[in-house]
Structures are given as C-alpha cells and as structure tokens.
C-alpha cells in the first residue's frame, strides 16, 4: 500500500501502513450508517463510479480538441461559447456547467490550476489526477509554472509567455493545445489520439504522430 500516492510526495512520512485501513473503516462506517437510514442508495454509488470509470474522461476533451483543430467554425464557437460548443458534442453536466476554452499559440502557453481546492473540468476530462488536487501543484503552478512544467518533462522556450488560469469561480477551463506538425490530412479520430489529458491541463503538449506510431 505504501507505494500509492495520495496527494503528496513520499517524503512526508504519513504513508504509514494502516492509513488506507483507517480510511476504509471510516468510509465503510459512513456508508453503512447512511444506507441504514435510507439516505443513500449503494447502487447509485456504483452508477456514479461507473460513469467516471467508463463514460466521463479525457477522451471527451480529446474529441473537443480534435474537432477544434479540424473545423475552424467549431474552433471559433469554442472560443466564443465553450459551454455550448462542447455541449453540441454531448459533453455537459457536473463540473462542466460553465466552460472556457483557452488556446495555446506559438507565443503563449496556458496552464490550468485551482489553488483553493480541486476545481477541474470533469465533463471533458473526468476526475482530476491526484497531483492536480495536491499541495505541490496547487502551491507552485501560480508562482513557478516553468519549474512545474519541467517536472512533467516540458521545457518551454525562454521567450514563450506563460498564462496560468486559477479556477477561483465556477468557470472550468480547457486548454486547447497547438496542433502538432505532420498531421495534415488527419481525420478527427487520428487527431484525438494525439490529445493527452495533460495537454488539456497545460502540463503537456499534444503528442506528435511519431509518438503514437
């Protein structure tokens, strides 16, 4: 169990052996009490988990980006009214009610964070990764984004502007990465394969065709 990352580096010393056991017991007690009271439906919990395991995830966002790369009219709509443009592809709902798409360019790289909690565009990216919700990323993204990106293996040129979007309200941000070179003539399915989750947070770039061959 101790190899699991639960939001922190391994140097904090709180990954004692019974940590998960404590939480297992705590959550089990909570679920039992609530179920006995008829306040929750365990089958509803299964349905929620299934939705985020199989339906709502970063492949949704990849479809949005691939369409924006392929269709200038859609890209323009996404810039003006991301909520409606994204909804037109069937992606709506919880933590995607109010969307904004921000486009990387040759001059500017965009990075999304929520310094105050864990706001993340669930409707297009699914549930956030542990690191996104943890203190290292939340503390550093706004003061040292280049250092953060370097830890993801992304070194930006010194001239590139960096824009960090702190999700302090109910707007949820999606980064549209730059379309990779060598993708002329690619259809939306092939393009979507190049769009990683991290490229839509801004902690990565879209893959090049060579990366997926």
């Amino acid at each position: 169990m101790s190899e699991h990352h639960h939001g922190h580096g391994d140097d904090h010393g709180h990954h004692h052996d019974n940590h998960l056991t404590d939480m297992e017991a705590r959550v089990k007690a909570l679920e039992t009490v609530l179920t006995e009271k008829g306040l929750i439906d365990p089958a509803a919990i299964d349905a929620i988990v299934d939705a985020y395991e199989t339906k709502v995830g970063p492949r949704n966002g990849a479809r949005v980006v691939a369409k924006a790369w392929s269709d200038p009219g859609f890209a323009d709509w996404l810039k003006r009214d991301a909520t409606a443009a994204i909804a037109s592809l069937g992606f709506t709902g919880r933590q995607g009610e109010h969307m904004r798409a921000v486009f990387n360019t040759s001059e500017t790289h965009n990075l999304i964070v929520c310094t105050l909690c864990s706001c993340y565009p669930w409707a297009v990216l699914g549930l956030p990764p542990v690191w996104y919700k943890a203190p290292p990323y939340r503390s550093r993204a706004v003061i040292d984004p280049r250092g953060v990106l370097a830890e993801f293996g992304l070194e930006l040129s010194a001239e590139k502007k960096v824009r960090v979007w702190d999700s302090t309200a109910e707007l949820r941000y999606l980064v549209v990465p730059e379309r990779p070179e060598g993708t002329d003539g690619f259809g939306e399915d092939a393009l979507a394969e190049l769009v990683t989750r991290d490229s839509m947070i801004g902690t990565g770039l879209a893959l090049s065709p060579e990366d997926v061959r």
Binding site: G7, M23, A51, R94, H98, L116, Y137, P145, F152, D166
Partner: protein
C-alpha cells in the same frame, strides 16, 4: 478564510510527482467516498460553497496530510452532523442509532445519469449592469475574513486588468454561510507576475483569477 487550502505561492510542498498511467481510483474506498459525497450533495441540504468551506475548515495539519478523498470524507461528516442527518455516536458505532432528518431527495441509481448530465449551474441573473468593463484596470480588495472567500491571498490588494466579464454568478462568500445566493457580476482579472510576486518574478508570466464584483475597485 486564511486556511490551509489557500496554497497559491506557498513554498516547501515538495515535488509534483505525477504518476505515470495513474489509475482513476487508488483504492475501493475512494470510489465509495466519491459516490457518497455526490449522493449526499443531492440531498439539497447544503450548497457546494458550504462544502468547500467545510473542507477548508479542517485543521491545517489534517488538511495538508490528507488525500483529497479523505478531505471530502472528513468534511462530509461535518456537513452530515451539522445538518442533522447523522451523529458522531453513529459514525463511531458504524450503525444507525436514530432515524434523523429526512432529506428533500435521495439519489437513486436511476437518477444518476440525469443528475450528472444536468450538473449544478451557478449563473444567475443580476439586474444592475456590470460596473466594470473589459480593459478596465482594477485593484482587488485587501481583507482577511474568517469566513469563506474565493479571493486567494496572493491576489489580494493587487492591481490587474479585466479581460472579460464572465457573466453573473452566485456569490460564494455569502452562499457558503446560508446568507443567500446574492449573485454578482464575475470578471476575469489578469495580473502580471511582477505585481503578485515582486522581485524575481517570471517576466513572461501572467496569472488570472475569476473575481466577483465586490472583490474589485477601479484602479
């Protein structure tokens, strides 16, 4: 509140340590914690803003050493007790002792798809026109309320530029405390890193926040 959650710009939190091929969940209890949290949210007994405030009100040492699903679970216990749905004695016993309060609705499996697809929009109409326009220079408020706010410490008493009017939204500083939604205009405000971090700031960096109108004055 100046709680442990307000992390922007703090030092010493360590490496990001992104996990390669990270699974969606790291343990079964995380799945249950997600589902229970969303199910209880569907009671309609508290707002998302009150939930956030319950999370940031955890003791700092607890908050900073907990995973996010643990933060959710601990805050949910607080909310359930505060609103009369469970007691600490029940949580300790792991069983119901008294029926407790009835919620407005219980989320059942057949409702899940619809509830997730609908979400919880927070935009609300405001009668007065926006006081601030795109392109205006603004200064953020300097305050340190013990109550909930979404103006991070690093962005208080700073001068920036409004890039866009984002619409009008529920005001979390009130809504978190049962004082009503009291919607306000919301603005995207961008700051040069030098204005926020001063000496040594990255000259290529700008940081933006979404700020409610009462956080802002014309500069």
């Amino acid at each position: 509140m100046n709680g442990p959650h307000d992390l922007g710009g703090q030092h010493g939190m360590g490496p990001i340590a992104p996990e390669r091929n990270e699974p969606i969940f790291h343990a079964e209890w995380e799945k249950r914690a997600l589902g229970i949290t969303l199910s209880c949210g569907a009671f309609g007994a508290w707002t998302l803003d009150e939930s956030r405030h319950a999370r940031e009100s955890l003791a700092p040492a607890t908050y900073l050493s907990a995973s996010y699903y643990e933060i959710w679970t601990r805050a949910l216990e607080t909310l359930l007790k505060r609103h009369g749905f469970v007691t600490q004695a029940e949580l300790d016993a792991g069983h119901m002792l008294d029926k407790g309060r009835e919620p407005k609705r219980v989320l059942t499996a057949d409702m899940v798809a619809g509830v997730l697809a609908k979400g919880g929009p927070c935009d609300r109409p405001v009668e007065a026109p926006p006081r601030i326009a795109a392109g205006d220079s603004v200064r953020t408020k300097n305050f340190n309320p013990e109550s909930h706010t979404r103006l991070p410490r690093y962005a208080r008493a700073r001068t920036g530029m409004v890039e866009a009017v984002q619409g009008s939204f529920v005001f979390p500083d009130d809504n978190a405390h049962g004082k009503g939604e009291n919607p306000q205009w919301l603005y995207m405000v961008v700051f040069d890193a030098g204005e926020i971090w001063g000496e040594g700031a990255d000259p290529t960096l700008t940081v933006s926040i979404d700020a409610w109108e009462s956080y802002l004055e014309h500069a």
